[in-house]
């Protein structure tokens, strides 16, 4: 039963489709609930990645996750990019399309980084307008992910959680809640991670991300290069109790181990969700439900 307002289903526990796992997936057809792809890797290519993706999409649900929508940029939206994204989504029957609350470049350039927004009324109005425009072109709602950030602007008048929620309301878009990013940014900026999650309305959340990170002592980098740490698993259980069952995706993008290790890490989320659900079930049993 979906908790979000668009009825997007809980797909279960997936991982990111990465080229180092192509052979394994095609040969072994592993039992995995779903895959998320990095959209830009499959645009403008007629080569192997697209061929593999077509085969994967025949057998598994696929979700598109991008890094170049640049929803907060002052540049005009890139219609060419969005049209290609839309076509890719149709080609693989993408369950939904997501990107990040960020900007990636201005003046026609792309830094290919998820750069932080100043959280002000001006950027809220601007970004909401762009997200609505993007959704009109894609002809579907998108989900925006809370990014890991390493700086905050002095001029921000909103906290990130409230900004994201207000943006989702004004643009009528979904939220991809990255629990690791909440933890990373809470460390980098010194806010309360649970309070952040408390502010996110369940009916806007269409997906959850989990990943490992790199602790540099003075700050944490969102590197997707390791196992999920215990504190983030705790936060995931907390999120589940607040928001309910939502499609969960494990990201591993650097120093990627073999498929079974990444998949096993994703399946830990299932165990954590079941553990988090237990007190609720016991309570229900006690009341004869």
């Amino acid at each position: 039963m979906a908790n979000n307002r668009w009825g997007y289903p809980d797909l279960g526990f997936g991982i990111g489709l990465r080229s180092v796992h192509y052979e394994h997936i095609l040969q072994n057809r592993p039992k995995i609930d779903w895959f998320e792809i990095l959209s830009e890797n499959y645009l403008d290519t007629g080569g192997r990645p697209l061929s593999v993706l077509d085969q994967v999409a025949e057998r598994y649900p696929v979700v598109l996750h991008g890094v170049s929508m640049s929803v907060g940029s002052i540049d005009p939206v890139n219609v060419d990019y969005l049209n290609k994204l839309k076509a890719l989504g149709q080609r693989v029957n993408a369950r939904w399309i997501s990107d990040h609350l960020c900007w990636t470049g201005v003046s026609g350039m792309n830094t290919h980084d998820l750069l932080p927004m100043p959280y002000t009324d001006e950027s809220l109005r601007h970004t909401a307008k762009r997200v609505r425009q993007i959704q009109e072109i894609l002809e579907r709602p998108i989900a925006l992910e809370n990014p890991s950030t390493y700086l905050e602007f002095s001029g921000s008048t909103w906290n990130e959680s409230d900004f994201l929620v207000q943006l989702a309301k004004e643009a009528d878009c979904g939220i991809l809640l990255d629990v690791n990013n909440v933890y990373v940014s809470s460390f980098n900026h010194g806010f309360d991670a649970e309070k952040y999650i408390d502010g996110i309305p369940a009916d806007r959340v269409v997906q959850i991300h989990l990943a490992g990170h790199t602790h540099k002592g003075t700050h944490i980098l969102d590197t997707h290069s390791d196992y999920v740490i215990d504190t983030v698993w705790d936060l995931y259980r907390y999120t589940y109790q607040r928001i309910g069952a939502v499609s969960t995706l494990l990201e591993w993008d650097a120093s990627i181990p073999e498929f079974d290790i990444v998949h096993a890490e994703a399946l830990k989320a299932k165990a954590h969700r079941e553990a988090a659900a237990m007190p609720e079930m016991e309570e229900a049993a006690a009341y004869g439900d």
Binding site: I74, D113, P118, H126, F153, H219
Partner: protein, 261 residues
């Protein structure tokens, strides 16, 4: 400093793309516009993004130019990346196109190790990325070849697959790349003319070493010349031509054969 969205984004992008250390003005601006954290000063937080930018560009270019990166070594390759993206920052939604101008950029500089060799190597590696991403077109089958009447071959036009490129080099760059791929000792770099066909078969990118005549024939066929015209222009013994042709067909270099009317 102005703190509207446009000004902030232009400022931050400028800082990120500016090579070198944070200068005094940038530090002052960062302290005005960016909150410090409990562990980092404003400019140190900005520096995280500045450092990641160049690393990301280097990683992307190393994927497309592994041979060049190996040849130059990390430090020299990083310096090259910094100069290149300063002149040609990414303007695409994909990093796959970032390196498209690198061979042309290398034509304009000479203060790197063995610049002529680097230019050839980069040209070859760019071709390979193009072949990797090309549209898939099915290769001519043995049955299609067998169906061509013997007397029609002279006027036949052989169309190569989309994922096919030909190039000539002044250095044996394919041999060097082969050593990099196989993690073998690198061959000595001596000037020697070489000809390469780069193509894709079963979604794998391959390189085929050619001699001058084979390259010329393939080049003429790719231009749309008939087989008869190509053989008139480049004279080779028939037995050698038959062998080449068998090899090229078995490697899947041709997509279609069009018969003259």
């Amino acid at each position: 400093m102005a703190t509207d969205l446009a000004s902030l984004q232009r400022w931050m992008q400028h800082c990120i793309q500016q090579p070198g250390e944070c200068d005094g003005e940038m530090v002052n601006q960062a302290r005005e516009l960016v909150k410090p954290s409990s562990t980092l000063e404003s400019e140190e937080r900005l520096d995280i993004y500045r450092g990641m930018y160049l690393l990301r560009m280097q990683e992307a270019l190393e994927v497309d130019y592994p041979g060049l990166a190996k040849f130059l070594g990390l430090d020299e390759f990083m310096r090259l990346v910094s100069r290149y993206v300063d002149l040609y920052p990414s303007r695409s939604y994909t990093l796959n196109r970032l390196g498209d101008r690198l061979p042309a950029f290398l034509e304009t500089i000479s203060d790197i190790r063995k610049p002529e060799f680097c230019r050839d190597l980069a040209r070859l590696e760019l071709l390979l990325t193009q072949v990797f991403d090309e549209t898939e077109t099915p290769a001519l089958t043995a049955e299609q070849i067998a169906a061509v009447p013997q007397d029609a071959w002279e006027g036949a036009r052989l169309r190569p697959i989309a994922a096919f490129r030909l190039a000539a080099f002044d250095y044996p760059v394919s041999q060097y790349l082969g050593a990099v791929d196989e993690e073998n000792p690198y061959p000595q770099i001596r000037k020697r003319k070489t000809w390469i066909a780069a193509y894709r078969r079963n979604y794998q990118v391959h390189r085929l070493d050619l001699n001058r005549q084979a390259s010329e024939i393939l080049g003429l066929l790719a231009e749309g010349k008939t087989l008869g015209d190509a053989l008139t222009a480049v004279r080779v013994p028939q037995s050698r031509l038959f062998q080449w042709f068998r090899d090229w067909v078995s490697e899947g270099l041709f997509h279609a054969v069009e018969l003259g009317t």
